[in-house]
């Protein structure tokens, strides 16, 4: 009994202390700090994406702070990064967005995967919190599900899947000269599903029929049933618009089952982890993506150099797009003239052209940039530029 009352007293004291601390903190005058939230996939199915995103973000913030901070309305602000892990889960991505919103960030960067970006975008839109997704390419991310109109507070640094699906289809038809194309995609993930559907539509519009259109669910590791079907359908090419963590398994299983056709994918492949996991089996394969390090512009070269000296590795597309998202955000915050979400949103919407490290982005009244895509071939364990596809 005595121990219990002691325990109760202890709890009361702790709670009281927390309340006092919170009250004091909320009364403190606002320091000259701008907080930007990062909603990233640090754990879960695609942890390397989260790590690259965090690296790109930290580099961008470090650079702006080293230059004396952001100047907004004649006053200098230090930028502070608030990182939240969304565990690569839709519900956690929404929760992370809520948390960042409550923490009072001026703007949120991320999430990256569309399956996380879509729910987080819903939260951002209703909280009137400006959001930029670096890597989400699904059309739905920036579209309001209820009205079908573009969302007001959601922007992105990547091209959209309607474009990428078309690029992949044209590449398959014109360069790979496929006549019996097949697709295997994750039906439970927005990105994979969206791009697979556009690919199929474009291929069929050109009069070629897709001989196998097979699905799986996020986290599956055995694709032998689907791949056996694909092989039995006599496919000569296989499109895998899936994440880098799953593609090596799919390529390996396809080859072990005796599939000899060409295999290619989309920007979700663009991570060097793919080569680590896949080894020789991914040699010679192609994918569409945002930028290629071997044809970089001077601005991109500076970024690549800074990134390499800080982290000791080549920045992948997520790191580059995150860096560009911060570039866009900084430009908008400066242009807004005051630290206010609505003003930042209006300034973001007012940007018509931005030259980032992933190329020139043009905004035409929506949160979706128009930009070119590149096709990469994997050669000798490296991502090599193959060709460019214009919008």
């Amino acid at each position: 009994m005595r121990r219990r009352s002691l325990l109760v007293a202890a709890v009361v004291v702790v709670v009281a202390a927390v309340i006092v601390v919170l009250a004091v903190r909320s009364r403190a005058p606002t320091p000259a700090v701008i907080r930007i939230g990062l909603n990233a996939e640090l754990t879960g199915g695609i942890p390397v994406v989260g790590a690259s995103c965090k690296n790109g973000a930290e580099l961008a913030v470090e650079e702006v702070n080293a230059a004396g901070g952001l100047e907004v309305g004649g006053r200098k602000y230090r930028v502070e990064l608030l990182v939240e892990d969304n565990e690569d889960k839709a519900e956690s991505a929404a929760a992370a967005a809520h948390k960042l919103n409550t923490a009072g960030v001026l703007l949120m960067i991320g999430p990256n995967a569309s399956r996380n970006a879509i729910p987080a975008a819903e939260v951002a839109e209703s909280a009137k919190l400006p959001m930029i997704s670096p890597w989400s390419t699904a059309v739905k991310t920036t579209i309001d599900a209820a009205t079908g109109q573009p969302k007001k507070f959601v922007f992105r640094a990547a091209f959209i899947d309607d474009f990428q699906g078309v690029v992949a289809a044209k590449f398959a038809l014109q360069e790979l000269k496929t006549t019996r194309p097949a697709v295997l995609y994750d039906v439970a993930s927005e990105y994979n599903k969206g791009i697979a559907e556009v690919y199929k539509k474009t291929i069929e519009a050109a009069g070629v029929s897709v001989v196998a259109f097979e699905t799986y669910t996020t986290g599956d590791k055995d694709f032998s049933s689907q791949l056996t079907k694909i092989r039995a359908a006599g496919a000569d090419s296989l499109f895998l618009p899936n994440y880098y963590s799953e593609v090596p398994l799919q390529v390996q299983q396809a080859r072990r089952l005796g599939f000899t056709g060409v295999i290619f994918g989309s920007d979700s492949w663009g991570n060097l982890e793919l080569i680590t996991l896949c080894g020789k089996e991914c040699e010679g394969l192609y994918f569409t993506t945002h930028y290629a390090t071997d044809i970089a512009t001077p601005k991109a070269q500076a970024f690549i150099k800074a990134y390499e000296s800080k982290y000791g590795k080549t920045p992948d597309d997520v790191a580059a797009l995150t860096y560009d998202s911060f570039g866009l955000a900084f430009q908008a915050i400066r242009a807004a003239g005051r630290v206010d979400r609505q003003a930042v949103r209006d300034a973001l919407a007012g940007i018509t052209q931005y030259e980032g490290v992933t190329g020139v982005m043009q905004f035409k009244g929506t949160g979706d940039p128009v930009k070119s895509a590149v096709i990469i071939q994997i050669k000798e364990g490296k991502f090599r530029y193959h060709s460019t596809a214009q919008p």
């Binding site: 754990t43 879960g44 942890p47 097979e214 699905t215 590791k221 049933s225 056996t228 039995a232 996991l277």
Partner: protein
């Protein structure tokens, strides 16, 4: 025809791994009537042991051949995992032997969470491939393609199961296990060291899972959370076969392998878990003792 054989082979490969893991569930249930929900995560740890040992051996200056490397990796995974399971049993489950059964189950869930998050924190979330321990090749027979990994998995699993069946049925230790599962209170009167037998059962179950872990790791990627889904599927295998029954667990494993492979052929692939868990429900409602489980069936 060729296609059907191909599907069947794929199902056998997946089913072998489920069966090997299901054996651990069923043996522990047989002896303690407890579901060791950490078993899937113990399986996960075995794949990581195999990963690190495999990488070290292949990278070492010893230049061992493929067969010694494979055997050494397997041995390290089996011993490491067995030790881990024995330690878990002594530290986490033994103090709760007299507590209500639900306490042990909750502790098992906790141990599972600990293993997942410990791996996540120390090794990291990136999925990994085991290095190719044995040269990967393909055998083509008619329209059927058999990879060496597939053949290895099917044959080795069958051998291990045969070995286990012999241990349980023909050795003194096996007899002691059966005695403890039969009557935990009378067995010590006959001179059976109950605590030691229980620890041994955990270790044996984990060893078999480790064999499955190495074989699984050679075919698929490994990650800290892999044990959750595979653990559940193996658990369903054990229930379908008749929990507590060793041969039942083997049969259940192959059935779940067939579910895994044939569901995406007949239905959309998203129905896999739905079919597997429906099977669990149907069995729990209409035949809770499973295919082979009878009230008087041999347990362990």
């Amino acid at each position: 025809m060729g296609l059907a054989v191909q599907y069947l082979l794929n199902a056998l490969q997946v089913g072998s791994v489920y069966a090997l893991i299901a054996l651990g569930y069923t043996m522990v249930y047989g002896i303690l009537t407890m579901i060791n929900f950490a078993h899937g995560d113990i399986f996960m740890v075995s794949t990581y042991i195999a990963f690190f040992v495999g990488v070290a051996l292949l990278g070492s200056a010893l230049h061992l051949g493929a067969v010694p490397v494979f055997l050494a990796t397997m041995l390290a995974a089996v011993l490491g995992t067995a030790t881990l399971a024995a330690v878990i049993e002594r530290v986490a489950y033994k103090p709760l032997r007299q507590a209500p059964r639900v306490s042990a189950v909750i502790t098992a869930l906790g141990v599972g969470l600990f293993l997942e998050n410990f791996t996540l924190a120390t090794i990291g979330p990136e999925p990994r491939f085991l290095p190719p321990l044995v040269p990967v090749g393909r055998i083509v027979l008619g329209g059927v393609v058999i990879s060496t990994v597939q053949a290895q998995t099917i044959v080795l699993s069958a051998l291990v199961m045969l070995l286990l069946d012999t241990i349980v049925r023909r050795t003194m230790t096996g007899m002691a296990m059966r005695a403890v599962s039969w009557d935990k209170f009378t067995a010590p009167l006959m001179g059976v060291p109950v605590d030691r037998i229980i620890t041994l059962t955990f270790a044996l179950g984990a060893s078999i899972a480790a064999v499955g872990g190495v074989l699984y790791g050679m075919a698929y990627t490994i990650d800290p959370y892999m044990g959750i889904r595979i653990g559940w599927w193996a658990f369903i295998s054990a229930v379908v076969g008749g929990i507590g029954n060793i041969r039942g667990a083997m049969i259940g494993g192959y059935i779940l392998g067939a579910v895994e492979i044939f569901t995406p052929i007949l239905l959309p692939s998203t129905y896999r878990d739905f079919v597997a868990f429906s099977l669990l429900l149907v069995f729990l409602i209409f035949r809770p003792t499973g295919i082979l489980g009878r009230p008087v069936a041999m347990k362990v």
